[in-house]
Symmetry: C2
Subunit: 376 residues, 2 copies
């Protein structure tokens, strides 16, 4: 872990909150944004926590993200709403939209809210969990910059298009949050940094052929030169790639299509983000005794964890279990921040005129940003 | 095609309808059942059409399926219902439940109906399409006999657990219907009949190791000896198997969990089916101008079809396109029935005292059933 510096949750929270306030967000807005970001680090999803800070920094600097944007509800029924984001901060739009879905679901039983013209909103699962904490089933989806190549294609047309769903259960909530691509771009970046060839079934070159060259794929993605990441299931029908492509489309329907926003293939072009989100909240009580239903789920999850293991395996996880374990570990032992990410945080301090040493300690004081991971 | 005999849609419809009437269903009930079955053949999903007839024949004969069962709505709100199926015919329960969801969605905007203690209901997509024909988004899911092995496990715990979703679009509706396993059992049966080794990433032996031996896997499934089919994404996290397992769980939640029915791992044990379904209908009009929204989807689908093809590929399909093409072909050129399936149909004629020759022609008259594909 020589390339990492460990900070406590509280220290990172203070740094991030002050940074977002300096960007022009209110205290309560900063609290929301920071909770989304740090929840990602607590869950062990490093790619969407501190590592993404630079994306918000540069996004605000370049005017893609407008801190003062006022979300506008452009359509509403008792079970639904559509929010025009006016290029605001994704986390704030996501938080507002899911809260609307939750309030409506508490009244009517189920509801869906879509958002257009937003920006990157962090981990999809955060918003699904918001509903879960209120005793509801939560679903959260977002489109994103085109990165998924459809089956038999060679041009990225859909985003990583994650779908997240959470439902209350004991001792661990069911919490499933995953991109509909086989992996995310962050995974390719890790392989690239390590100089390792990509595993089979992950990526395509600009002609649509399978490739293991992470550097080439990442360059082509940035240049929009063709190629990208395969859908879950790979690039053949035999391995089920058309299914991952199908789930990517489901995400696209519940985000851009039902908000009349930009589909993934039209986002992030010409200095415009245009990301769209979709949120659904469902009260299990519309199907009977809520406690009994959640216990029924808990029983299944327990049966899965206790079912026989494959040769050489010691544990079967249910979705959401790893995040709980990671969260306990990081609250106790701190959050490890990659030095490249830390250098970006130092750069942010300088940009916002924040004292590096008092926020990030002596380890950070001498760091200088060599190359930003922001590549838009 | 020597192993196939081709019949017109009308001829198969007459045969099936009369057979189900002989089983004790009313004319209108038989019409529904037969429409579900033949829609599968028309869509080119041979595994769920005439080939499944034997399953209903034996299911009724053994008392798993009760033709006279009266579905009972045990819980209901304006946006939801739970139906106790009392071991009735899956197609009739599915039809009733999706119609309830459609009617509620037309009133409230969106609705969900779950069903417990049902039986195999044919293709999941049929019910999604019912909503689509009414201008709504339709979602249909069903659990089934346990066949999917969770990541790092060696025992099948979840069913093939298909999720289907349809939404109106031009010229082809979006129509995505797929198991959350990498393939269905039917695919393994085809490889077994041909004596071909299974592709990598499909199946597990009884110890949870990857295997290409279709015969062994099928035997173990029937004997519940361990092993089964991998989730979409395979049996490692690197290839995304935990995601297919996650979608399998999503299906389980919207079928068995929210109906308080049997989870897949408890169905089909001790002479009891216990299959559960889930249906959701959503009116796009709750998000604004319905026509504009469906046109927005149509544009994306068109852009996908017209996007650049991978080297060596001539066509990118959008979901639902292949089914439309298959349907046109079969209405014009007839439906090819495998001789093994035909022998099962002849056996059914004898069981129900129907005249083989007048229903199925001279080609069928001399066929004798060697071995039923019914293996429950």
């Amino acid at each position: 872990m020589n390339n990492y510096v460990t900070y406590s949750y509280e220290q990172l929270k203070k740094f991030c909150t002050d940074a977002f306030i300096k960007f022009g967000f209110s205290q309560s807005e900063s609290d929301i944004i920071v909770d989304v970001l740090l929840t990602s680090d607590l869950y062990g999803i490093e790619s969407h926590g501190m590592q993404r800070l630079v994306r918000y920094h540069k996004g605000i600097e370049k005017g893609l993200i407008k801190p003062k944007a006022e979300p506008e509800v452009v359509f509403e029924t008792p079970v639904s709403a559509v929010i025009e984001g006016h290029d605001g901060m994704g986390q704030l739009l996501g938080y507002k939209a899911m809260n609307m879905a939750i309030e409506k679901a508490k009244t009517v039983g189920m509801a869906a809210v879509t958002v257009r013209n937003s920006n990157h909103y962090g981990i999809a699962g955060y918003y699904a969990k918001m509903a879960c904490k209120e005793g509801l089933i939560g679903i959260s989806m977002t489109n994103s910059e085109a990165i998924m190549v459809p089956t038999f294609g060679k041009k990225a047309m859909l985003g990583s298009n994650p779908i997240a769903i959470a439902m209350p259960a004991k001792p661990y909530d069911f919490f499933f949050d995953s991109s509909t691509t086989v992996v995310t771009r962050g995974k390719l970046e890790i392989y690239n940094k390590l100089g390792k060839p990509l595993p089979d079934g992950w990526a395509l070159d600009k002609d649509g052929n399978a490739t293991s060259d992470a550097s080439d794929v990442l360059k082509n993605i940035v240049a929009k030169a063709g190629g990208g990441i395969m859908p879950l299931g790979g690039n053949t029908e035999q391995s089920g790639g058309h299914k991952g492509y199908g789930y990517g489309m489901v995400c696209e329907i519940f985000t851009s299509v039902l908000s009349m926003g930009l589909t993934s293939n039209h986002t992030h072009i010409g200095g415009k983000g245009g990301t769209c989100h979709g949120f659904i909240a469902i009260d299990p009580a519309i199907f009977g005794d809520k406690d009994a239903i959640c216990e029924h789920l808990s029983t299944l999850l327990c049966e899965l964890r206790e079912s026989p293991k494959a040769n050489g395996q010691e544990r079967i996880y249910t979705h959401g279990e790893k995040e709980v374990l990671a969260c306990e570990d990081r609250m106790k032992n701190g959050i490890a921040v990659n030095v490249n990410t830390l250098a970006e945080m130092v750069d942010l301090c300088k940009y916002l005129d924040m004292d590096v040493k008092s926020y990030l300690g002596d380890e950070a004081a001498d760091l200088t940003l060599q190359k930003s991971s922001y590549d838009m």
